[in-house]
Amino acid sequence: MLKAEDLKIHYGHVEAVKGISFEVEAGEIVTIIGSNGAGKSSTLRGISNIEDKAGGKVIFQGEDITSLPAHEIVDKGICHVPEGRHIFSQLTVEENLYMGSYSKTDQTKAEYQDKLARMYDIFPRLKERRNQDGGNLSGGEQQMLAIARGLMMDPVIMMLDEPSLGLAPLLVEQIIKLIKEINEDLGTTILLVEQNARKALSIAHRGYVMETGNIIMSDRREKLINDPKLAEAYLGVG
């Protein structure tokens, strides 16, 4: 469904992504794992065109979206939940969710309310805090808000950038479980970028391993988990 071909992203002379290719099929959870600075976030930023690409092609549902502006990529159904959450901190939780449906111009008020209620079902914490400013939420709640806000646009595919970053282990567990539920219950395809390889692989169908701008390995989850080299480098032996 989403296909990147020879994707390149440069920051000045630094080649952050050196021509990678990967693919995500409908209904899958695909993860890109790798250490800090491997180029994972840049890859997502390149797909959603927040960052200019130095080369390569992005195909989404058979359509070349390589050079579409960021807001039109959203209209196609690609939702990017950026690293560091980027919630609107001076807007309330509900206003944040409202902004999530910004691109749904043809949506009626009833449909909006309906979706809002569904989000509050999935994220009861957000309902409790609906009138609080986004900036006053805890890290975990902010991550939930960022995901819920993304879901408000009914994405075909959701690209999550380091959702576990800076969260306590228990919360990481919870967020990871949520992502699986979103995939299974809402049928949203997921592209998950994570440093926490073990957690990411626990729910993914397939994975790509990135290192200094290149994809060095790609396989089904079971294979990756049992790969001795990978276990040593990313999963922590033991």
Partner: protein, 327 residues
């Protein structure tokens, strides 16, 4: 203690918002009939003009977070456009004011296209530079602006054969302009466009991720704000009857900025209060007029220290989502 009382007053005003707005309008409408002192009336006109100008800056700084510190340029362009066309062509003042607004807006488009991709402080520097370029151009393009001599003899505006020349006339003229501006801005802020503006202020990257065409909305925002600066400038040209480059030094930009900061960014009420306080206060202390900038400086320092979001800023006037028309 004092802060507490202030909070209480704000809560009260917030609860009875419509009533207070209505009361304020009534008071402002009666004012010119009660006040006979022409000097006071003159100050009242200037006050409303500065409220209009600081409100127009607030649209850009307060709602979209674009630090335009060269706002005076658009005020100057509006004033000069009005002076130039009104002294050369026999046009109704309403048309002249509109044209002046559009011309200011057009210049902001030309400035915005190459510079709005710059972030924060870089955009601020560019606007600062633009303000100086504008002033120097005015000063040196003698065939058009008469340079340092300024343009005198801006005709007295007329409507239905009536000459609008007294302070009272100008008072109502600026009152109507301000009223239209605030009404229009209120409508926009509570529309899809306003949501896009605010989301850009909050987090531009997230805004783009929500499907907001951030560049388009930033341009639109800049053009809308500068339109009203141009309108304010045109009004000033008619009110003073004379324009000169001296009126458009950078100090004016800082004055607008101080008004927005003191009153509170991102609220309609903020610049009204800020504009009024910072126009009237220096007049009260006018015996030391040359220390005027000190008043602005001290006011900004006090605000930054005690209430960084401005007197009426922050979430003092929380919008209620259930009230909005589009959902």
């Amino acid at each position: 203690m004092a802060a507490n009382i202030f909070e209480k007053i704000i809560t009260n005003i917030n609860k009875n918002k419509l009533k207070y707005i209505f009361l304020l309008i009534i008071v402002l409408l009666i004012l010119p009939f009660v006040v006979e002192n022409q000097y006071v009336l003159h100050i009242a006109v200037l006050t409303l003009m500065y409220v209009l100008l600081s409100s127009s800056l607030n649209v850009i700084v307060g709602y979209t977070g674009q630090y335009n510190i060269g706002h005076v340029a658009f005020y100057a362009i509006g004033a000069y456009t009005a002076a130039i066309i009104s002294t050369r062509f026999n046009l109704n003042f309403i048309i002249v004011i509109l044209i002046s607004g559009f011309v200011a807006s057009l210049f902001s488009l030309m400035l915005g296209i190459p510079t709005l991709r710059l972030r924060g402080i870089f955009f601020a520097f560019t606007t600062l530079g633009f303000a100086e370029i504008t002033r120097l151009t005015i000063l040196n393009w003698r065939s058009l602006t008469r340079g340092p001599f300024g343009i005198p003899g801006v005709p007295i505006p007329q409507i239905f054969g009536m000459r609008l020349s007294t302070n009272t006339h100008f008072y109502f003229m600026i009152f109507i302009l301000l009223f239209l501006m605030l009404l229009m801005t209120y409508r926009i802020i509570n529309s899809r466009v306003g949501r896009a503006w605010i989301s850009i202020r909050e987090d531009e990257q997230a805004s783009a991720s929500m499907g907001v065409d951030t560049f388009k909305y930033k341009i639109m925002n800049l053009m809308y704000g500068t339109f009203w600066a141009g309108v304010g400038g045109a009004f000033f040209a008619y009110f003073a009857g004379y324009v000169s480059a001296d009126s458009f030094i950078l100090d004016e930009s800082f004055r607008f900025f101080a008004m927005v900061l003191v009153g509170g960014t991102g609220t309609l009420a903020g610049p009204i209060l800020g504009g009024a306080v910072l126009t009237i206060l220096p007049q009260v202390f006018r015996s030391f007029a040359r220390y005027q900038m000190i008043i602005y400086g001290v006011a900004i320092l006090l605000i930054i220290h005690y209430k960084p979001e401005g007197l009426l800023g922050g979430r003092t006037f929380k919008r209620d989502l259930s009230e909005s028309e589009d959902n």
